[in-house]
Amino acid sequence: GDSVTQTEGLVTVTEGLPVKLNCTYQTTYLTIAFFWYVQYLNEAPQVLLKSSTDNKRTEHQGFHATLHKSSSSFHLQKSSAQLSDSALYYCALSDRENAGAKLTFGGGTRLTVRP
Protein backbone atom coordinates (compact mmCIF):
# COMPACT_ATOMS: atom_id res chain seq x y z
CA GLY A 1 0.00 0.00 0.00
CA ASP A 2 0.90 3.66 -0.03
CA SER A 3 2.64 5.19 2.95
CA VAL A 4 4.08 8.49 4.12
CA THR A 5 6.80 8.63 6.75
CA GLN A 6 7.66 11.57 8.94
CA THR A 7 10.69 10.49 10.90
CA GLU A 8 10.50 13.09 13.68
CA GLY A 9 7.52 13.10 15.95
CA LEU A 10 8.77 16.16 17.77
CA VAL A 11 11.04 18.98 16.61
CA THR A 12 12.12 21.87 18.80
CA VAL A 13 13.93 24.84 17.35
CA THR A 14 14.94 28.27 18.59
CA GLU A 15 13.21 31.29 17.08
CA GLY A 16 15.10 32.68 14.11
CA LEU A 17 16.91 29.46 13.30
CA PRO A 18 16.18 27.24 10.29
CA VAL A 19 13.89 24.24 10.55
CA LYS A 20 13.46 21.16 8.39
CA LEU A 21 10.70 18.57 8.71
CA ASN A 22 11.32 15.34 6.86
CA CYS A 23 8.82 13.50 4.69
CA THR A 24 9.40 10.42 2.55
CA TYR A 25 6.90 8.21 0.83
CA GLN A 26 6.16 4.97 -0.92
CA THR A 27 3.41 4.79 -3.51
CA THR A 28 2.14 2.82 -6.45
CA TYR A 29 0.34 5.82 -7.93
CA LEU A 30 1.66 6.99 -11.27
CA THR A 31 0.83 10.65 -10.73
CA ILE A 32 0.79 12.05 -7.24
CA ALA A 33 -0.27 15.21 -5.47
CA PHE A 34 1.65 16.12 -2.31
CA PHE A 35 0.57 18.34 0.51
CA TRP A 36 1.87 19.77 3.74
CA TYR A 37 -0.91 20.49 6.22
CA VAL A 38 -0.57 22.49 9.42
CA GLN A 39 -2.87 22.02 12.40
CA TYR A 40 -2.91 24.56 15.21
CA LEU A 41 -4.33 23.63 18.59
CA ASN A 42 -8.08 22.94 18.42
CA GLU A 43 -8.27 24.02 14.79
CA ALA A 44 -8.86 22.32 11.46
CA PRO A 45 -5.88 21.12 9.45
CA GLN A 46 -5.18 23.60 6.67
CA VAL A 47 -3.09 23.23 3.57
CA LEU A 48 0.29 24.92 3.75
CA LEU A 49 1.92 23.75 0.52
CA LYS A 50 1.05 21.50 -2.35
CA SER A 51 2.95 20.12 -5.33
CA SER A 52 2.86 17.50 -8.02
CA THR A 53 5.84 18.59 -10.12
CA ASP A 54 9.18 16.88 -9.71
CA ASN A 55 12.11 19.11 -8.70
CA LYS A 56 10.02 22.28 -8.55
CA ARG A 57 10.24 24.39 -5.38
CA THR A 58 6.93 25.42 -3.85
CA GLU A 59 6.71 28.28 -1.34
CA HIS A 60 4.08 29.72 0.96
CA GLN A 61 4.18 31.77 4.15
CA GLY A 62 7.96 31.48 4.34
CA PHE A 63 7.94 27.70 4.09
CA HIS A 64 9.18 25.82 1.07
CA ALA A 65 9.31 22.26 -0.16
CA THR A 66 10.55 20.51 -3.28
CA LEU A 67 9.23 17.18 -4.51
CA HIS A 68 12.11 14.84 -5.33
CA LYS A 69 10.81 11.67 -6.93
CA SER A 70 14.35 10.29 -7.19
CA SER A 71 14.55 10.14 -3.39
CA SER A 72 10.80 9.88 -2.73
CA SER A 73 10.88 12.96 -0.54
CA PHE A 74 8.97 16.19 0.07
CA HIS A 75 10.74 17.82 3.02
CA LEU A 76 9.41 21.07 4.50
CA GLN A 77 11.85 23.86 5.31
CA LYS A 78 11.90 27.37 6.63
CA SER A 79 14.95 29.58 6.93
CA SER A 80 13.85 31.39 10.07
CA ALA A 81 11.34 29.82 12.45
CA GLN A 82 8.80 32.03 14.21
CA LEU A 83 7.02 31.43 17.52
CA SER A 84 3.72 31.33 15.62
CA ASP A 85 4.95 28.34 13.61
CA SER A 86 4.48 26.07 16.61
CA ALA A 87 1.90 23.50 15.46
CA LEU A 88 1.41 19.99 14.15
CA TYR A 89 2.61 19.43 10.58
CA TYR A 90 1.46 16.63 8.33
CA CYS A 91 2.79 15.45 5.01
CA ALA A 92 0.19 13.77 2.80
CA LEU A 93 -0.23 12.38 -0.68
CA SER A 94 -3.09 11.45 -2.98
CA ASP A 95 -3.60 9.91 -6.38
CA ARG A 96 -4.03 12.69 -8.93
CA GLU A 97 -5.65 10.38 -11.45
CA ASN A 98 -8.47 9.28 -9.19
CA ALA A 99 -11.31 11.72 -8.67
CA GLY A 100 -12.18 11.86 -5.01
CA ALA A 101 -9.01 10.04 -3.93
CA LYS A 102 -8.29 9.96 -0.21
CA LEU A 103 -5.28 11.55 1.40
CA THR A 104 -2.66 9.30 2.95
CA PHE A 105 -1.08 11.08 5.88
CA GLY A 106 2.23 10.76 7.63
CA GLY A 107 2.27 10.40 11.40
CA GLY A 108 2.77 14.12 11.92
CA THR A 109 5.54 16.23 13.43
CA ARG A 110 4.95 18.54 16.33
CA LEU A 111 7.04 21.66 15.86
CA THR A 112 7.81 23.76 18.90
CA VAL A 113 9.57 27.09 18.41
CA ARG A 114 11.08 28.46 21.59
CA PRO A 115 12.17 32.04 22.24
Binding site: F35, E43, V47, R96, A99, G100, K102, F105, G107, G108
Partner: protein, 117 residues
Protein backbone atom coordinates in the same frame (compact mmCIF):
# COMPACT_ATOMS: atom_id res chain seq x y z
CA UNK B 1 -13.00 29.87 10.17
CA UNK B 2 -13.29 26.63 8.23
CA UNK B 3 -15.66 26.42 5.30
CA UNK B 4 -16.48 22.85 6.33
CA UNK B 5 -18.90 22.89 9.26
CA UNK B 6 -18.92 20.03 11.73
CA UNK B 7 -21.34 19.52 14.61
CA UNK B 8 -21.29 18.93 17.47
CA UNK B 9 -17.85 20.10 18.52
CA UNK B 10 -17.84 17.70 21.47
CA UNK B 11 -19.74 14.45 22.03
CA UNK B 12 -19.74 12.26 25.12
CA UNK B 13 -21.29 8.79 24.99
CA UNK B 14 -21.39 5.70 27.13
CA UNK B 15 -20.13 2.42 25.78
CA UNK B 16 -22.73 0.78 23.57
CA UNK B 17 -24.50 4.03 22.80
CA UNK B 18 -24.93 5.49 19.35
CA UNK B 19 -22.82 8.46 18.43
CA UNK B 20 -23.75 10.65 15.50
CA UNK B 21 -21.90 13.59 14.05
CA UNK B 22 -22.61 15.81 11.08
CA UNK B 23 -20.72 17.67 8.39
CA UNK B 24 -21.65 20.35 5.90
CA UNK B 25 -19.02 20.35 3.15
CA UNK B 26 -17.65 23.45 1.50
CA UNK B 27 -20.10 24.82 -1.03
CA UNK B 28 -19.54 23.28 -4.44
CA UNK B 29 -17.47 20.37 -3.14
CA UNK B 30 -19.08 17.07 -4.16
CA UNK B 31 -16.49 14.83 -2.48
CA UNK B 32 -16.62 14.30 1.29
CA UNK B 33 -14.18 12.38 3.48
CA UNK B 34 -14.24 11.23 7.08
CA UNK B 35 -11.02 10.71 9.01
CA UNK B 36 -10.37 9.64 12.56
CA UNK B 37 -7.50 11.41 14.36
CA UNK B 38 -6.46 9.39 17.40
CA UNK B 39 -4.81 10.47 20.64
CA UNK B 40 -1.40 10.15 18.97
CA UNK B 41 -2.61 12.60 16.32
CA UNK B 42 -2.48 9.95 13.61
CA UNK B 43 -5.01 10.12 10.78
CA UNK B 44 -7.07 7.11 9.72
CA UNK B 45 -9.22 7.30 6.61
CA UNK B 46 -12.75 5.96 7.21
CA UNK B 47 -14.93 6.61 4.18
CA UNK B 48 -15.48 9.00 1.31
CA UNK B 49 -18.41 9.99 -0.87
CA UNK B 50 -18.96 11.67 -4.17
CA UNK B 51 -22.37 13.28 -3.96
CA UNK B 52 -24.42 10.49 -2.34
CA UNK B 53 -22.31 7.54 -3.50
CA UNK B 54 -19.68 5.79 -1.40
CA UNK B 55 -16.32 5.76 -3.16
CA UNK B 56 -14.19 3.87 -0.66
CA UNK B 57 -14.42 2.71 2.93
CA UNK B 58 -12.36 0.65 5.33
CA UNK B 59 -13.52 -2.54 7.00
CA UNK B 60 -14.16 -0.85 10.35
CA UNK B 61 -16.55 1.51 8.70
CA UNK B 62 -18.50 -1.31 7.13
CA UNK B 63 -19.18 -3.06 10.42
CA UNK B 64 -19.99 -0.56 13.18
CA UNK B 65 -19.88 2.74 11.43
CA UNK B 66 -22.48 4.05 9.02
CA UNK B 67 -22.25 7.18 6.96
CA UNK B 68 -24.32 8.99 4.40
CA UNK B 69 -24.39 12.18 2.39
CA UNK B 70 -28.01 12.76 1.38
CA UNK B 71 -28.75 15.46 -1.14
CA UNK B 72 -29.66 18.81 0.42
CA UNK B 73 -28.81 17.59 3.93
CA UNK B 74 -25.65 17.44 6.01
CA UNK B 75 -23.43 14.40 5.70
CA UNK B 76 -23.33 12.22 8.79
CA UNK B 77 -21.16 9.61 10.46
CA UNK B 78 -22.75 7.36 13.06
CA UNK B 79 -21.17 4.77 15.31
CA UNK B 80 -23.83 2.19 16.09
CA UNK B 81 -22.37 0.92 19.35
CA UNK B 82 -19.59 3.08 20.72
CA UNK B 83 -16.48 1.55 22.21
CA UNK B 84 -13.78 3.18 24.33
CA UNK B 85 -11.35 2.83 21.45
CA UNK B 86 -13.57 5.05 19.31
CA UNK B 87 -12.63 8.07 21.42
CA UNK B 88 -10.94 10.39 18.95
CA UNK B 89 -11.31 13.54 16.86
CA UNK B 90 -13.44 12.87 13.79
CA UNK B 91 -12.57 15.13 10.92
CA UNK B 92 -14.66 15.78 7.86
CA UNK B 93 -13.04 17.11 4.69
CA UNK B 94 -14.35 18.04 1.28
CA UNK B 95 -12.87 18.59 -2.15
CA UNK B 96 -13.67 19.17 -5.76
CA UNK B 97 -13.66 16.18 -8.07
CA UNK B 98 -10.18 16.05 -9.44
CA UNK B 99 -9.91 16.21 -13.19
CA UNK B 100 -6.75 15.05 -14.85
CA UNK B 101 -4.14 17.72 -14.28
CA UNK B 102 -5.97 19.50 -11.46
CA UNK B 103 -4.63 19.70 -7.95
CA UNK B 104 -7.66 20.16 -5.77
CA UNK B 105 -7.27 21.15 -2.15
CA UNK B 106 -8.99 19.27 0.61
CA UNK B 107 -10.77 21.54 3.11
CA UNK B 108 -11.08 20.21 6.63
CA UNK B 109 -13.58 21.00 9.33
CA UNK B 110 -12.57 21.55 12.97
CA UNK B 111 -13.81 18.12 13.91
CA UNK B 112 -16.07 16.44 16.44
CA UNK B 113 -14.22 15.23 19.52
CA UNK B 114 -15.85 12.02 20.73
CA UNK B 115 -15.28 10.68 24.22
CA UNK B 116 -16.66 7.25 24.99
CA UNK B 117 -16.81 6.54 28.73
Amino acid sequence: NSKVIQTPRYLVKGQGQKAKMRCIPEKGHPVVFWYQQNKNNEFKFLINFQNQEVLQQIDMTEKRFSAECPSNSPCSLEIQSSEAGDSALYLCASSLSRDRGANSDYTFGSGTRLLVI
